[in-house]
Amino acid sequence: MSIARFWRETPQRYNLGGSKCSDCSIVYFPPRSVCPNCSSHRRSIGRMVPFQLSGDGEVFSYTVVHEAAEGFDMQVPYVLALVKTVEGPLLTGQIVDVEADEVRIGLPVRAMFRKLREEGKAGVIHYGYKFAPREEDRAPAEPRGQRDASRAATPEGRRGPTTA
């Protein structure tokens, strides 16, 4: 994949930039130039405005992938999910920083910026969003301060095989 092909999508993949129809107010991700909902499509042309997703949502469906997509071989098994964002759109992405057997439909998650995959040793490194359970929803298994300190030391997390 050329650098340009990935680079041109960075506003969406890095910052969750979507769009909103100023006619019917439905939010889309990735951004669209025409609203699929408006009965008169033409009315929405030129009226789609940028809209940034908060990154908050919940697991809509999930699977544990054992036979990886290209470039994801080092991450198996990994959890892939459809996440229903609070603004409406469904997003496809990995769930990380949690044991696979703790993932369930309805689990609240938040998007975070992560490395997705790399194209060999010399190729492009792809970054984008993955999802993890929100800190405030986690069971207080250990004192708050201690936990934050350990996470800061290993920002990629240390929570078993689904971490990437």
Binding site: Y62, T63, H66, A69, Q75, L82, P89, Q94, R117, H126
Partner: protein
């Protein structure tokens, strides 16, 4: 628009055909169909060819003239068209061939489909097939075709209480059917414990929930129904040929436990043919992943939404069940999955069933057959109804 009939059918064995090239299997299927229809190349007006990814799989494009050339027809300079819609490429090519004959533009048309999956590694083959999902918003984030169908399966279990054992039963059924098909990729039977215990691919789907990557080709000859008896004693009328599409990515669909493109294409087909699902005795449906078969049966109108699992497990779609009999060929799971050939192979099986030539796979008294093919996770659905003309 005039009525169109299938005059002849042919196909190769499906499987890992390491000793045979793409050209060879394409020619074998096409010539087989022409011999079956008792037509000579001089009568041929055009060729339509379904293929998903020859450029990636064998580094060869422009395959429609290529096959014609090596079939010895290069000097006739015939029109030749390649059609692509992922796993529905063959079925969509059949639709295009049907339109060409129905319109009166051409009289005799060969529609073929072929895919050579094993000239690349298994892993590469899967990656190439995943291009039938949305690359930018699914695959880049770690999705594969089986993982997307696994998301559908999990949601179907959540919404309707569908059980893991119920969709595992699809693979048991397909292998049972395919064990009687000499062209099938896998002719071994499998048991429920084997399916449940197979290695995981994308949970809850395991190895035996997923159709294999196969080589293979299939072809049919189409012509106007009013002259069909010149070529065959049992013309098979194409009672309907309907296509519907939807958003590429699962995440953009209205919902993921219904494939709207299947619903639309099926409803249009039944309307066009003035028939109902209950009129169908035999169906070849899209079972690339076991869960897809259950959802297809719901969306085609054979069972109510959410009931696919228990109805399938009850034996309804087995031989002698309330019907229709599903995938007598063994389906994609057992007969095999050479992507661009699948839709044509479904038509070939139904021609044999409706002619009463399916030997020990024969569904007795079959007069109306349905074929259903999907691209990717359902961005394209093609439904055909085939009818025996007496």
């Amino acid at each position: 628009m005039r009525d169109v009939a299938i005059l002849g059918a042919g196909m190769t064995r499906f499987g890992e055909l390491w000793d045979r090239s793409f050209r060879e299997i394409g020619i074998e299927a096409g010539l087989g169909a022409m011999v079956d229809a008792r037509i000579s190349s001089a009568q041929l007006d055009a060729v339509y060819f379904g293929n998903m990814a020859s450029g990636s799989l064998i580094e060869q494009e422009q395959i429609a003239p290529l096959i014609l050339d090596y079939a010895g027809l290069g000097s006739r300079h015939l029109p030749a068209v390649r059609v692509e819609a992922g796993g529905a490429s063959g079925a969509l090519a059949l639709h295009q061939g049907y339109l060409a004959v129905a319109s009166g533009l051409y009289d005799i048309v060969v529609v073929g489909g072929a895919e050579k999956m094993t000239d690349v590694t298994d892993e590469r083959g899967s990656d190439i097939a995943s291009a039938t999902a949305d690359h930018e918003w699914e695959v880049v984030f770690g999705a594969t075709l089986p993982s997307l169908w696994a998301l559908v399966a999990r949601r179907h279990m959540h919404e309707f209480g569908t059980k893991r054992e119920e969709f595992a039963q699809v693979s048991v059924h397909d292998h049972e059917m395919g064990s009687r098909n000499p062209n099938a990729h896998y002719r071994n039977k499998v048991t429920l414990p084997q399916v449940l215990g197979a290695g995981p691919v994308a949970e809850p789907l395991g190895m035996l929930d997923c159709a294999p990557l196969s080589d293979g080709a299939a072809a049919v000859v189409l012509g106007p129904l009013d002259v069909a008896r010149k070529y065959t004693d049992t013309p098979i009328r194409i009672a309907a040929s309907q296509v519907a599409t939807d958003s590429m990515a699962l995440q953009h669909r209205r919902e993921i436990t219904t494939i709207d493109a299947t619903v639309e294409s099926a409803q249009r087909a039944f309307r066009r043919a003035r028939r109902a699902p209950s009129d169908v005795q035999v169906a070849e449906i899209h079972d690339a992943y076991s869960i897809a078969a259950l959802i297809s049966l719901e969306d085609l109108g054979f069972v109510p939404k959410g009931k696919g699992g228990p109805e399938f497990a009850s034996g309804r779609f087995a031989k002698g069940g309330a019907g229709p009999t599903v995938n007598p060929s063994g389906g994609l799971k057992s007969q095999g999955r050479p992507f661009g050939a699948v839709g044509i192979a479904q038509a070939v099986e139904l021609v044999r069933q409706l002619r009463g030539e399916a030997k020990d796979r024969q569904v007795s008294g079959a007069t109306l057959g349905l074929a259903h093919d999907l691209g990717g996770t359902g961005a394209t659905s093609v439904v055909h109804l085939f009818e025996r003309v007496n």
